[in-house]
């Protein structure tokens, strides 16, 4: 792949990634957000692979492959299984409506570009435009965790944060050492499993999976 082609491919993928982040945030149905998350992870895997090939850092291909397998296939499937067993067909419930979260998201993108603008502390090794993208993905995840009512959406928000951090690691340092990267993947997978189990426990005990029904503990 010629450098020019690679550069424009990366730009294009970065743009798509941002669109996918918006998609996750604005989907009104849980199934759609999960598909959007799978798309987001797929783009992340592609970006990782392109960076690995063009910069000759072959060890990055392993996390790229793991992202492809775990985050685009395994984890979304776990989610689909959970919502099927829970019998949720319905929409995402949020404390703020979708147009407003879209507005907030746009603001967050501006903030991310502003805080990482030129001449700041970070001078990334690979592609500087990915730093604000990564930070806005982290912000989006946090927005999701704080505004969504359903426990399962909070888990999705957490995964989005993790995707953002992964992108950050890839573009700033060509990824963490392989051993650490594998460990993080393992942790994420176990976390999703355990949180999935707890979603069922919440459903059984509270007869809903609205996290805001959980108000027993105070003070």
């Amino acid at each position: 792949m010629s450098p020019e082609l690679a550069a424009s491919a990366i730009h294009f993928l970065g743009m798509m990634l941002l669109i996918a982040s918006f998609w996750i945030l604005t989907s009104s149905q849980i199934g759609m957000s999960i598909r959007a998350y799978a798309a987001h992870s797929f783009l992340l895997a592609l970006i990782t692979a392109v960076i690995a090939v063009t910069n000759h850092v072959e060890h990055l291909l392993v996390p790229a492959l793991l992202t492809l397998v775990l985050k685009t296939i395994v984890i979304p499937n776990v989610f689909f299984r959970i919502i099927r067993r829970l019998g949720i067909r319905k929409e995402v419930e949020s404390y703020i409506n979708i147009p407003f979260s879209l507005l907030l998201a746009v603001l967050l993108v501006f903030v991310s570009f502003y805080v990482t603008g030129d001449d700041k502390i970070l001078k990334p090794v690979a592609f500087s435009e990915f730093i604000p993208l990564a930070i806005s993905t982290v912000f989006f995840g946090m927005l999701m965790m704080t505004t969504r009512k359903k426990a399962i959406n909070q888990v999705l928000g957490l995964l989005l944060i993790e995707n953002g951090l992964f992108l950050m690691a890839i573009t700033m340092t060509f990824g963490m050492p392989l051993l650490v990267e594998m460990g993080i993947f393992f942790d994420v997978l176990v976390a999703v499993m355990i949180m999935g189990i707890f979603v069922f426990k919440i459903r059984d005990a509270f007869e809903s999976i609205d996290a805001d029904d959980m108000t027993v503990l105070k003070g």
Partner: protein, 491 residues
């Protein structure tokens, strides 16, 4: 013994506990596992020359005097907690918890010990992160043993809040790695995250990036360590978990996260050559004590009271680390050790209290002394100790922390702390007084004696009393060395 073997022990016993067999056998495996792991760890710590460091696993794991102190702490409280759980959860003839649940409990208990040991043995900061996230995942099921609404809520909050916190810490670690990789050849990346390597090259790391990283680490691991204002999961999880688990969470889990902060504190101070990270630690430490104070004074639930007291003491330890110098670090680590034993003793007695009074409300507990004189004595003395009454061990370390502060010329935080500690002392005494003395209401419940549970209380009381006067020689050397390792950098 080697580091690997110390780590293998709890992992092997975790899986042994899963074997389906009668309750009594599971209990035996569970308790022997904790005791054997502890003996192994003690033999290793005192049998190897850990000075300056022992490496394993390509330098990814390491034991220095700092980790040695924490290994002793984890395994000692682990044994106490396992023996207590042997009497508390594995009661004979009690069918309230199914054998399957008990096996799962035993499994996660040992897994939890394993992840904590891995945390303190980590030299590679990335592995430390993985291990700390592992502690959250392993202990979530321990918090929720009975599937009650409140336990599920507590466990969920614990999982979500700590996972987000730890994600921020990962950002900090990426920043540290970035600053290291800027100095080195790409590709040779295996050892770049090793704490010892980073420390040896600290002067070449970008101080700006490390400052930024430390903020994220403080927020991330601070969530796990229970520093205010990130502590909101802590009172829920600690109050809903069964007594032996509360003791572990409060006594050692918080301490492990604090060790994580300390490692980065040392690194940041060495790289920036300034008191930046120390000042932040003092700030958040004092804030934690201040936030905990009103909740301690006005608390209605005795397990939450103990939980908020943990926020207070972790704050104090953070302040001690922030003051720095050999004395400050020594005092902070001693405080962490003393807090671990005292607080776990109190959480164990909260298990007794729950059996005896069937409630967690302070208002409904009266006359512990009349119902069970032994428990009354232990609980009252424990409360005095945690409030900072001499001659108990907590008093000694609090005194040393404040001395370090005055010596470092940090008068303002010391004065604020003195005022707050007095308030907390009064508050604790009032609660303890009301609960211990007086005439109990209602008919006494059926007395159920457990030799194991009472034994743990007795041992705990002796430890906190003795540590106030005399710290055993080898352990004292270890503490001093730990203070010197860290305090030599942080002046």
């Amino acid at each position: 013994m080697t580091i690997d073997r110390v780590l293998w022990m709890p992992l092997i016993f975790a899986f042994l506990c899963l074997i389906p067999c009668p309750k009594r056998m599971t209990r035996l495996t569970f308790m022997t596992g904790a005791v054997l792991s502890a003996i192994g760890a003690w033999l290793f710590v005192f049998g190897t020359s850990w000075s300056p460091r022992v490496f394993a696993f390509n330098g990814n794991l390491m034991m220095d005097s700092l980790s040695a102190v924490f290994v002793l702490l984890i395994t000692s409280v682990g044994v106490l907690s396992a023996v207590y759980a042997g009497g508390y959860l594995f009661k004979e003839g009690d069918s309230s918890i199914s054998p399957l649940r008990l096996r799962r409990y035993a499994f996660f208990f040992h897994l939890f010990l394993f992840t904590m040991l891995l945390t303190v043995f980590s030299n590679n900061l990335g592995i430390m992160w993985i291990a700390i996230e592992g502690t959250t995942l392993a202990s979530a099921f321990l918090v929720n043993v009975d599937d009650k609404k409140s336990s599920i809520e507590a466990a969920w909050k614990y999982l979500i809040l700590c996972s987000v916190g730890i994600a921020l810490a990962l950002f900090g670690i990426i920043l540290v790695y970035y600053s290291a990789i800027a100095q080195a050849v790409v590709g040779e990346s295996g050892f770049l995250l090793n704490w010892t390597f980073l420390l040896s090259k600290a002067k070449q790391l970008d101080p700006q990036v490390l400052r930024l990283a430390f903020i994220f680490i403080l927020v991330g691991y601070g969530t796990k360590a229970g520093l205010a204002p990130f502590h909101s999961w802590l009172p829920d999880a600690h109050s809903q978990a069964p007594a032996p688990v509360s003791a572990l969470l409060s006594g050692v889990l918080l301490s492990c996260a604090t060790l994580g902060i300390l490692r980065f504190h040392i690194l940041t101070t060495a790289a920036t050559g300034s008191a930046f990270s120390g000042t932040l630690l003092i700030l958040f430490g004092v804030l934690s004590v201040a936030v905990a104070t009103p909740f301690i004074l006005e608390q209605k639930d005795y397990k939450r009271l103990l939980a908020y007291s943990s926020v207070e003491h972790m704050g104090l330890a953070a302040v001690g680390l922030g003051f720095g110098g050999v004395l400050g670090i020594y005092a902070a680590i001693l405080h962490i050790v003393n807090h671990a034993f005292t607080k776990s003793l109190l959480f164990f007695s909260s298990g007794h209290l729950l059996h005896l009074f069937q409630t967690k409300e302070i208002g409904k507990v009266k006359g512990i002394f009349r119902r069970n004189p032994f428990l009354g004595v232990v609980f009252f003395l424990g409360a005095l100790a945690i409030a900072g009454m001499p001659p108990f061990s907590i008093f000694v370390s609090e005194f040393l922390i404040l001395t370090a502060g005055f010596l470092a010329g940090k008068f303002l935080p010391c004065v604020i702390l003195l005022v707050l500690l007095t308030l907390i002392f009064v508050g604790f005494l009032r609660h303890a007084n009301r609960m211990t003395f007086g005439v109990p209401e209602g008919p006494p419940p059926i007395e159920e004696k457990s030799f194991l549970m009472d034994g743990v209380l007795g041992v705990g009381l002796i430890v906190i009393f003795a540590m106030g006067f005399y710290i055993p020689g080898p352990f004292q050397r270890l503490l001093l060395e730990a203070g010197r390792v860290a305090g030599g950098v942080i002046v």
